[in-house]
């Protein structure tokens, strides 16, 4: 049984097509049920986000399943296959496993390293699991994907590097002050940029936020939105002597803060570090203010420069992360093949042994054999079975290490070792355990 992936993402399709193909959790469950009832797949889940709609499923027929899933996807959304197929991609076996691990590790995301995708995959998996659409092998594969994501997050910096200007500012503030919940920030200006900065500092857990604006009413309105304190603009210098972080975004033709003014403020602050972020154009803060030892002054260009640097670093870290994904998918496939071969050997041996025992008992009874003869017959039949099975078992082991699924399938069919029942029992046991 192989993993197959059929879907579309931000690279392969337009936003409008992704919007049409998106699936609510219940719709996804119904869709997967119909695929399972139709015998196309045995287990699966649908990951549906704004950047991708993907069906992950286990199928006995990895060669034909993707086309059938694709057709079902198009039909489900009332689209023609011809409209959807050019944007669809389908993967199976090793490629599918690598893709799953890459998606979990956020290597396939629009913004590489963004943390949301792992949560979205987890949600999709939980939905499918609750609907009884996942089984033993599929569960193990997805769990492996989660642990690969964790390894990538731990061993690389891919998810730690901020790539937006606002998050770069928050990251820098953490480098200067460590814990933001013990420090205060001030927004000077209450425009759109100030609002965005307020949102970031608020979610980073800043202790207290002050908002100063020339139009006091606007400051009050924004302060109410963020549970902040509004203050009159003429108190700017007093607040600068107290707060730790200040974001300036005032529309003014001249500097709002000059070096000479800041000098006296820094004396009042006893040279405590001050992080000034100037996102206004033209700038609000005199660049000479950066000369003070404890003043860290960043304007829009500086923040963008760091964001660009982080993007480049993410690319480098991405190569490392992809090596981890490759290593993990190889390890998983080796393990999965071993899992596929061992039950075949066990079932083959058990089947031969049960035939031998039945025939032996019948012969002993027919011959009315004494214990000595019975023991000789026992030894002889055991030896015949052992010798007969020697070559098939060696062939199974060789097929397992050589990725030869056809040999495994041939042995299964030749000896009548259909394992559907065993899989069904395993799934039932898993579901009982999870319940």
């Amino acid at each position: 049984m192989d993993l197959v992936v059929v879907g579309l993402n931000h690279r392969s399709s337009s936003v409008s097509l992704r919007e049409r193909m998106a699936m609510e959790p219940q719709v996804a469950v119904d869709f997967l049920r119909s695929l399972r009832d139709g015998g196309v797949v045995s287990d699966g889940m649908v990951v549906s986000t704004c950047n991708r709609v993907e069906v992950y499923a286990m199928s006995r027929e990895p060669a034909t399943a993707p086309a059938r899933i694709g057709e079902a996807l198009a039909a489900r959304h009332g689209l023609q296959s011809a409209d959807v197929f050019p944007s669809l991609y389908s993967l199976s076996g090793k490629e599918a496993v690598e893709h799953l691990f890459s998606v979990c590790a956020s290597l396939d995301s629009m913004v590489v390293g963004e943390p949301q995708i792992l949560g979205q995959v987890k949600e999709a998996f939980a939905t499918a699991q609750q609907a009884g659409l996942t089984g033993g092998a599929f569960n193990r594969l997805i769990q492996r994907g989660f642990s690969v994501a964790k390894r990538v997050r731990t061993e690389t910096q891919i998810s730690r590097l901020a790539v937006s200007v606002s998050s770069v500012a928050v990251d820098l503030a953490k480098k200067i002050f460590q814990k933001l919940d013990q420090h205060t920030a001030m927004l000077v200006g209450a425009g759109e940029m100030a609002e965005l900065a307020a949102r970031h500092f608020d979610s980073a857990g800043i202790k207290e936020l002050f908002i100063l604006n020339r139009t006091y009413e606007r400051a009050v309105a924004l302060a109410q939105e963020f549970d902040a304190v509004a203050a009159p603009f003429d108190k700017l210098h007093s607040y600068l002597a107290e707060i730790d972080i200040a974001v300036f975004s005032v529309g003014a033709p001249h500097y709002v803060i000059r070096a000479a003014e800041l000098e006296s403020i820094m004396v009042r602050r006893r040279q405590r570090p001050l992080f000034l972020i100037d996102i206004a154009v033209p700038r609000n803060i005199d660049p000479a203010c950066a000369e003070f030892d404890s003043v860290f002054l960043y304007d829009m260009d500086d923040l963008e420069h760091i964001a660009d640097g982080n993007k480049a670093l993410r690319t480098g870290e991405g190569d490392h992360a992809r090596r981890i994904v490759k290593e993990e998918s190889d390890a998983y496939l080796s393990w999965a093949q071993a899992q596929q071969a061992f039950p075949i050997i066990a079932r083959l041996t058990m089947r031969a042994e049960s035939i031998r025992k039945a025939e032996l008992e019948r012969t002993i009874a027919d011959l009315n054999a004494d214990p000595e003869t019975a023991e000789k017959l026992e030894r002889m039949t055991a030896s015949i079975v052992r010798k007969l099975l020697h070559n098939p078992i060696q062939a199974i082991k060789a097929a397992q290490s050589g990725d030869d699924y056809l040999v495994l399938e041939a042995v299964r069919q030749a000896f009548g070792l259909d394992d559907e029942r065993a899989d069904a029992e395993e799934r039932k046991a898993d579901q009982a355990k999870e319940a």
Binding site: E155, T156, Q157, L172, K175, I176, Q271, I306, N310, L313
Partner: protein, 289 residues
């Protein structure tokens, strides 16, 4: 043979850890830090084994010259760095601790302690007390002598840790001010973390050095009938205590923090090394350790 092997292996571990730490800061990635910390730990354990072997061979407390003192210092620096790492989990501490530990380890491996050193050490004290034949032996077998030496070296190791934190602080401060070195900004620990470790190290180091001086004076009184022998290292120890006291006083009274304190910690440690080597090697008198 075992001692030399342990000492030189420790050197290799410390140097490799230093190279990896610098590579990590330049090129990024977690694995170099992981290997670096493992090598640093291995180096520290090897230094400890080296000192245990020397103790067994000499049958006495072995820190009787500056060379093996340097070995003990590299072990203590490793120990303190690992303790700090366990608390803060900042991989970049390696970049501070490994090069300093490597410097002392190389100094130590260049001259192992010998039986002749032990005899010379005992003899110099016996000469000071002509009436007491075994004054040197009494010192070696006392409790106060190993306590005095261990506390003094622990103080030096803590000052070394403060200096390495100062260097990390200066590196991050510079990167933040220049707004360049994205990778360095990313990997270096936040300014308050390194500043707090540096300050705490100095405070504990000062307490250790003060107690070491008091115990040394007590021991000198017991064996040599004088609290104060006017030895260059006694003066140096007092001077070091005063310098660090001054740094702490400016921090508390005048609010000097940040780059100024970091620079002071680095400068004071450079002074300490000069004094440590100068008073031990150039003017050893009673403190050739």
């Amino acid at each position: 043979m075992f001692e030399s092997l342990a000492a030189w292996s420790a050197d290799i571990c410390f140097v490799a850890a230093s190279v990896l730490s610098i590579l990590s800061l330049q090129r990024g990635g977690r694995p170099p830090f992981v290997y670096g910390w493992s090598l640093l730990l291995a180096g520290g354990i090897l230094e400890l084994l080296y000192m245990v072997a020397a103790t067994v061979r000499l049958g006495a407390f072995p820190i009787i010259n500056p060379w093996i003192g340097a070995s003990f210092l590299s072990f203590l620096i490793t120990l303190f760095a690992v303790l700090v790492w366990l608390k803060h989990r900042e991989p970049a501490f390696l970049a501070g601790a490994a090069p300093v530990a490597a410097m002392f380890a190389i100094l130590s491996a260049s001259r192992p302690v010998t039986e002749a050193d032990l005899a010379g050490f005992a003899e110099q004290f016996s000469r000071l007390q002509p009436g007491v034949d075994d004054a040197g032996r009494q010192i070696l077998e006392s409790i106060w002598f190993p306590t005095h030496v261990t506390l003094a070296l622990a103080a030096y190791a803590l000052f070394a840790l403060a200096a390495t934190m100062g260097l990390l602080q200066l590196a991050l401060h510079r990167a933040l001010k220049r707004k360049r070195g994205v990778r360095r900004i990313q990997y270096l620990p936040p300014l308050p973390v390194v500043e707090s470790i540096g300050t705490t190290s100095v405070m504990i180091g000062m307490a250790c050095l003060f107690v070491a001086l008091v115990i040394g004076a007590y021991g000198a009184r017991m064996v040599l009938q004088s609290h104060w022998l006017g030895d260059p290292k006694e003066l140096a120890g007092l001077a070091i205590l005063l310098v660090y006291g001054l740094i702490e006083a400016t921090r508390v009274v005048r609010g000097w923090t940040g780059r100024r304190t970091a620079t002071a910690h680095v400068g004071a440690f450079v002074m300490l090394i000069v004094v440590f080597l100068g008073s031990s090697v150039l003017a050893p008198k009673l403190h050739g350790f």
